[in-house]
Every structure is written in structure tokens, then in C-alpha cells.
Amino acid sequence: MIDVLIIGCGVTGAATAMELSRYRLDVAVLERENDVALGATRANSAIVHAGYDPKPGTLMAKLNVRGCARTAELCGKLDVPYQNCGSLVLAFSEEEVGTLRTLLDRGIQNGVPGLEILSGDEARRREPHLSDKVLAALWAPTAGIVSPWELCLAMAETAVKNGAALHLETAVTGLERAGEGWLVHTTRGDFAARYVVNAAGVDSALIHDMAAPHEFDIKPSRGEYYILDKSEGKRVSAVIFQCPSERGKGVLVGPTVHGNLIVGPNAEASAPHDTATTAEGLDFVKRTAMLSVPGLNFGQSIRNFSGVRANSGREDFVIGFKAPGFLDLAAICSPGLTSASAIGEYAAELLKEDGLPMEAKPDFTLERRRTRFKELSSEDRAALVSRDPAYGRVICRCETVTEGEILESLRSPIPPRTVDGVKRRVNAGMGRCQGGFCGPRVVDILARELGVTPDEILQDRTGSRILVGKTKEAGADV
């Protein structure tokens, strides 16, 4: 019997699996998709929030502030791109200056260090491209930015390296109390587990309802974004927020750890998995962002995307035992990415309190390194290429990613199976040509290494075939 079975391998599930893999436990993670990090984890603002937003006294406040510090530390150990760039919340009116004071008070109560209200001029000295209409700004020095999918991957890989089992393309269809534990029905058979942890993100209410009385609903809220080219990447150096409203933290402008600029999101009610973008939504994002940073050059856009927040309408996450052996880590909306590492630790504590014996593994390793050719010195590049010529062949010219790095990812604990899986692991295809150049080359490498034909290679999720067959035979049934 599995000791702990985690449903969902987004950043929350991955963090929990990693924390539990420290102990002599049989841990399994079920993920519906063909890779980890495919829900809200891969489509969000990629920000490590300082923690002045959540209501004081909530679990969300505690986990946000703890997660902010913990994420920074973890990214260092797990070689995840992270940058402590700080954040500013802008006020454009006296009323909004009042909001800044409220946020400052909340932040102090929540234990956020270093908060400070700056005048408009002080804010513009920090960020010369800010609007001259900014009256004041709340400076939060502990905020940062992170690669969200790499954080998730790094934690999931750590869990797998330390013995956790990851089952991809395994969707939960039902939960049944069985003796001292649970029988988990899935699209790939049944799993028996003593504890079940619900980290199913936007579907966490559905999973909850399989095990416990109905308690909350997920009201999915979609946010749309622009990613701008690196030529716009230095437009701001910190994350620039506007004052939050009941609809969320508002449209932000921020740097990304990959050197681009991220602009968004809006907030619109949506279906749970509807990550389409709309002309209206993108237009709103563009107009609203220009209020903060009027000089933004949207002509340098390289990609739009949207993600769905797992909002519950509550002011807190839904975390706790809701049935014997059934632990909700549910309704993890913003600041979920920031909080994830702390949620993982907290989940482990809750399981321990509930009586799960936790004996530390002496050989647990919390370490991960991957080659980033682009960041190496000329000398190191020369040495690497002479050691392994595959590191000499550049596959993605926009992001300078080599074949060696792709092959390395294929030897990692959770190897990529798809073109976007490669992108999330080594950045190939993330640049200004959006895979126009490297896409066919990555398809070739994957086909060769996985021993399949190129037309079997997927872009992304199950069913997303790139090629429909060979030439000379594909058109017969049109």
C-alpha cells in the first residue's frame, strides 16, 4: 500500500511530494497530463510575492511569507532561475495611497520585511519608465521572480530521485474509503493508499467531492498575458503592480527570469481549463499596463497566453483533513506559486500530526544542476564542447540552447516527451522566433532518442500531434 498518494503534479503536488520524499515513505503522484506543471503552474505571473496582500491571520498570509523566503532558498539549491528583484505597488490617486497604507499595515502584520512607501519621484528614480502620474508606491524588497515550471520540475525531479513514483496520464475517476485507507480509481487502474492528498488545482473541488461532503466551489478565473521580447526586458527592473481590487492583484508589468517582459493578467470568469486568449482581454491588458509604464512597446510581443486561477471566493486556501486520511491542498489561487514550497512543508507537518510515521532518509538529496551553455564563459564552453561535441551544436538560436542540453534533459529523472516538454526544461523555442527554427530540429531529436517516427511526436498535451503523416500519403482522405 502506498503511504501517501498525491493527486496532481503542479507546483503544490510537486512540493508536497518533495517534502515527503525526505522520509521513509512510499509516495506516489498521479498526474492527468503527459508532463508535470501543465495547469496553473505553467501559466501565471511567475512572481514570488512578498506577502502584503493576504488577510492577516490567514493560512495564506503565513504560507505566502514563509514561501517567499523558502522559494528563494530552494531555487539556489535546485538550480531554478530566481531573481530577488523586489516589487512596487503603484498609487495613482489619494484613495490609492490609502490602499498602499492598508497594504503596508497588512504586510507588517504578516511579517513581511523591509516594506516602505515611496513618493512618486522616488519610485521613478528606481524605475525611470514609470508613469509620471504615479503619486506613491509600496516597495517590497523581498519579492522576486522565478521560472514557475522549472520550480515545479525541480521539486518533482527531487521527489522522483528520492524514490517517489510519478504516474503521468493517470486521471483520477473516483475515491473510495477502503479499510484504513483509500482506493483510488484512475484511468490506469486502481491505487490503494493510506493517505490521499488533493493537489488538483482548478479541479480540486471535484476531487474533494469524491472523498468528503461538498464544502467549496472553484470559480475559475482566467488571466491573459503578453510576453515581450528581450529588447523590452529591461523596461522595468522590479515587478510593477497596480492597486489590487476584489478581482485580483491587477495588471502587472515585470521582468522574467528569462530576460523577457511579462504583462498581464486580466481576470475573467472562465471554464476550468479554458486557456484561450481573447482580443478584448488582451486589449484590456495592454491599455491597463500602459497606465503604469506608458512606453511599453507591444510591437515586441512574442507570445500571448492565459492561465486559470483556482479561486474559491474565500480569502484563504482550503487546506486541511476533510475526511479520514484525505488532505485537501485545494483552491490554491494566487499567491499559490509563492506559497507552494511552504504548503509542501505544512502538508508534511499535518500528515505527521495525523500519525503518519516520518523517519528521515539519511540519503535524501536536495541538489540539482543542469548545464546552461548560454551562461558559460568562453573557456567553459570550449571545455564542455571538447568533452561532449553535442554541446557544440546550437539547436535553438534565439535562446542559444545546444543539443547536449536537450540530450541531458532526456536523461533527467522526468524526461520530456514533447516539444513543449523540451521547451520547459531547456528553453528551446522560448525566444523570439517561437520555435520556428528549432521546432523541426527538436522533433527530429525526440524521434531519434525516443525511437519513434517524427509524426508521433507531440507539441504538448496528449493528442497535440504536429505532423499528420508522411508526404505522398497524407492527402488521400481529404
Binding site: S301, N304, L384, F437, P440, T471, G475
Partner: protein, 416 residues
């Protein structure tokens, strides 16, 4: 130390290297990222190349092969499967390749001939889902012509650039159904001959002043929504047409691949998106020249060849004869003209005449191309028709430019 390093072994780099050899340089290196020379021509298996330069109709690979053969008669050194990562202002060229290793070579002169890349969905901001089946026409061309795989069976093409038009015909010949070609502008961005031979001959409708306003489909494209646009290129509600398709090909423009220029600090022209060049294709960095689509996007490879020969000869002159002297006259675009190449001319450095390439920014009927210096008219050239999709060129004799002070303007005046 090389006399010349040419970055890119496509048509521009090949012609430049051959001409630099013929002009007297003996230590030349071409660095090519692919495994073979020829660049994008290798996937352009259709014909229509060489009509101007060779006076015969060749396929892309054949055109490239002509220059590879010329190259083989020279002592030019070639490194394939090698990517240049940096060119420094003092002309140190950083390169990497499995066989090459990571190395830094020095050169007395450099020619940048990296070509261009395709604009993407992200650049034009097409809303909707993000399924597989949305790809640039050039990527589709590679899959079909080089890899031998079909990217889809029912195809809509957004943009009427030449590669999109060529792929409309190519996909049709391979058995796919091309449902429509959709162009946001009121005119096509491609060559007239491609509209006729690739769309009209196959009965593929061209929707001008239309665009794709939504992509639908979860894992793979299932539908695209096409709407008519107004004069400001904004979609008109109520004009939506829905196409059931599995593929959307994008042919929405090409952009010079100037990453190396930027890193080297070379001045760029926001109009061409390539380097600002002098009459001899020299950039703002002395001894660094540029030619082909990395300088400005061409329609015909024949003109790439001509321009690249000029760059090759100029690099040879730079290495053998020292720096060119003389004051530069700026060339400006006037009415109806979107850019000129070169952007600067040093009359003292012009041999007999200077070729000026430009594009118009709207369709013009019977017109005069006017070259003026202030109020003074220097030259006029008659044309029956000018279109943004067809690059124009004029030849300005050296005598015309001597004694000119201030800027020279190229403009187009429509008759009547």
C-alpha cells in the same frame, strides 16, 4: 587571422565569399550553421530562381548549387554545422559546432549574411487557443520538403507573403486542401506571379482586408475564424467566417535576424530592421559588411546575389586598400517610399554608380520615382506600377551625387 569571415552560407554569404575571392582575398572562412551550404534555398524546391541573374529558371537548391560550384573553384574555407554566437567590434568571431568546437577566430573584415526569420503568431497577437497545427509557412516548408512529413490536411493560410503562397501550392500538390489565404492588407504582400501561379491556378480564394480573429481547438487546430477588417485593420463584427481546418500557416512577414548586429553594437534601421549601410554595404562598424535578407528582406534571390557581390568586393577593397574616405550623404525615404538601402552614400567611394533598393508603402499606378536634393530634382524614373510586395531598384550615377550637400530623398509621385 582571416582576411574575411562570412557569417552564413546561404545565397548572400556564398556570393559575397566568391566575389571577395575574385577581388583578391585569399584567406576567407564561411561559417554555416546547417550541415550543408545553401541556406533557406535548400528547402525552396520550387522553380523561379535565377531568372534575372542566370537568365534561366532554376529551383532553390539548383541556384545554391551554382554558387557552391563556384566556391569549390576557390580556396575559401567552409565550416558547416557551426553557429556564430558573437562578433565583437574588434572582429573576433565566436563560433561553436560539434566538429569545430568552441573557438574564437579573428578577421580583418566580416560579412554578416545570417538571413531572416519569420514573424510568428505572438508578434501579431492572434487570439484563441494554442493548439498544435499553428506554424509558420517556412517551418511547414521544411517539414514537407526536407523532412518528408505533412503538417496538416486542411489548411488556412494567414498572410500572403511569398512563402505562404508557395506553400499553398505545395500543400495542395501533396494532397492537402488549402481552404483560403487571408491577408489583412487590401493588397498582397507577395509577388504577383506567386498569386497567379500558387493561388489562382489552384482555385484557392484570397481574402484581402481579412484576418484570423480566433483560433479554436484544444489539442490540435479545429477551426479558425476569419473576419473582414476596416481601413484601420480592425475586425468588423458580423463578418465572421468559420473554417473547419487542422492547420493554420502563418506568412505574416520576415524580419532580419540581427541578433549578432545588436550584440556587436551595429546601428540598425527601424524601417528595414537590418543594419544601416553605406553604398558598399558597410555597416556603422568599420570593416563589417552585411548583405542579403539580414540587411533588408528581398523577394528575389537574384538581387541578394548582386548586393552580396558588392559586399564581397567592398570587404576585399577594405582589407587590401584601407578604409574608404569621404563624407556621406544620407538617403531618405519620401512620399510613398518606406525605406532605402543603402541609407548612406559616400560619393567618393562610388565607382560608377550606386544601386538603390527600396519599397513603396502602398500600391502605386503609373508613377515617377523622384530623386531630389532639397528643391533640386536629381533624377526621375518612370514605372507603370509599384507594389509593396515587389522591391524596386534604381541606379544613380556617381556624377549625379557629386556636389550634393545635405540629404537625398527618394519619393514616388503617382501620375494624375
Amino acid at each position: 587571422m582571416y582576411d574575411l569571415i562570412v557569417v552564413g552560407g546561404g545565397p548572400a554569404g556564398l556570393a559575397a565569399a566568391v566575389y571577395a575571392w575574385d577581388s583578391g582575398l585569399r584567406s576567407i572562412l564561411i561559417v554555416e550553421r546547417d550541415r550543408e551550404l545553401g541556406g533557406i534555398l535548400n528547402q525552396c524546391i520550387h522553380n523561379g530562381f535565377g531568372l534575372t541573374y542566370f537568365k534561366e529558371e532554376l529551383t532553390g537548391p539548383e541556384y545554391a548549387h551554382r554558387f557552391v560550384e563556384l566556391l569549390q573553384k576557390t580556396g575559401v574555407e567552409v565550416r558547416t554545422d557551426t553557429m556564430v554566437l558573437d562578433v565583437t567590434p574588434d572582429r573576433k568571431v565566436h563560433m561553436t559546432g560539434p566538429a569545430t568546437g568552441y573557438r574564437v577566430e579573428e578577421a580583418k573584415s566580416v560579412i554578416l549574411a545570417m538571413g531572416c526569420r519569420e514573424r510568428t503568431r505572438g508578434a501579431i497577437g492572434t487570439p484563441g487557443t494554442r493548439p498544435a497545427g499553428v506554424l509558420t509557412a517556412g517551418a511547414a516548408q521544411r517539414y514537407v520538403n526536407v523532412e518528408g512529413f505533412m503538417p496538416g490536411k486542411r489548411v488556412v493560410i494567414l498572410g500572403s507573403g511569398d512563402i505562404g503562397l508557395i506553400m499553398a501550392r505545395r500543400m495542395t500538390l501533396e494532397g492537402a486542401k488549402v481552404l483560403a489565404c487571408v491577408e489583412v492588407m487590401p493588397y498582397s504582400g507577395g509577388l504577383t506571379r506567386n498569386i497567379v501561379q500558387c493561388l489562382e491556378d489552384f482555385g484557392i480564394p484570397l481574402y484581402l482586408s481579412h484576418t484570423v480573429t480566433e483560433i479554436r481547438g484544444d489539442r490540435r487546430v479545429e477551426q479558425v475564424v476569419v473576419s473582414r477588417v476596416d481601413q484601420r485593420r480592425q475586425p468588423i463584427p458580423g463578418t465572421e467566417m468559420v473554417f473547419d481546418c487542422d492547420t493554420l500557416l502563418l506568412s505574416v512577414g520576415l524580419i532580419p535576424e540581427t541578433e549578432l548586429n545588436t550584440r556587436a553594437g551595429i546601428e540598425l534601421d527601424p524601417r528595414t530592421k537590418g543594419a544601416v549601410v553605406y553604398e558598399n554595404m558597410e555597416t556603422s562598424l568599420p570593416g563589417v559588411f552585411t548583405c542579403g535578407n539580414v540587411t533588408h528582406v528581398h523577394d528575389l534571390v537574384d538581387f541578394v546575389t548582386q548586393e552580396s557581390q558588392r559586399a564581397g568586393a567592398a570587404a576585399a577593397k577594405y582589407v587590401l586598400g584601407g578604409e574608404p574616405a569621404g563624407e556621406a550623404i544620407p538617403l531618405q525615404n519620401g512620399d510613398a517610399v518606406s525605406y532605402t538601402v543603402p541609407q548612406r552614400v559616400r560619393p567618393a567611394n562610388v565607382d560608377k554608380a550606386v544601386e538603390v533598393f527600396f519599397r513603396v508603402n502602398r500600391i502605386c499606378g503609373k508613377s515617377e520615382i523622384l530623386v531630389t536634393a532639397g528643391e533640386r530634382r536629381l533624377a526621375a524614373f518612370k514605372r507603370d506600377r509599384l507594389a509593396p510586395g515587389e522591391m524596386e531598384h534604381i541606379t544613380l550615377p556617381k556624377a549625379l551625387l557629386e556636389g550634393v550637400t545635405g540629404a537625398v530623398t527618394v519619393s514616388v509621385k503617382e501620375a494624375g
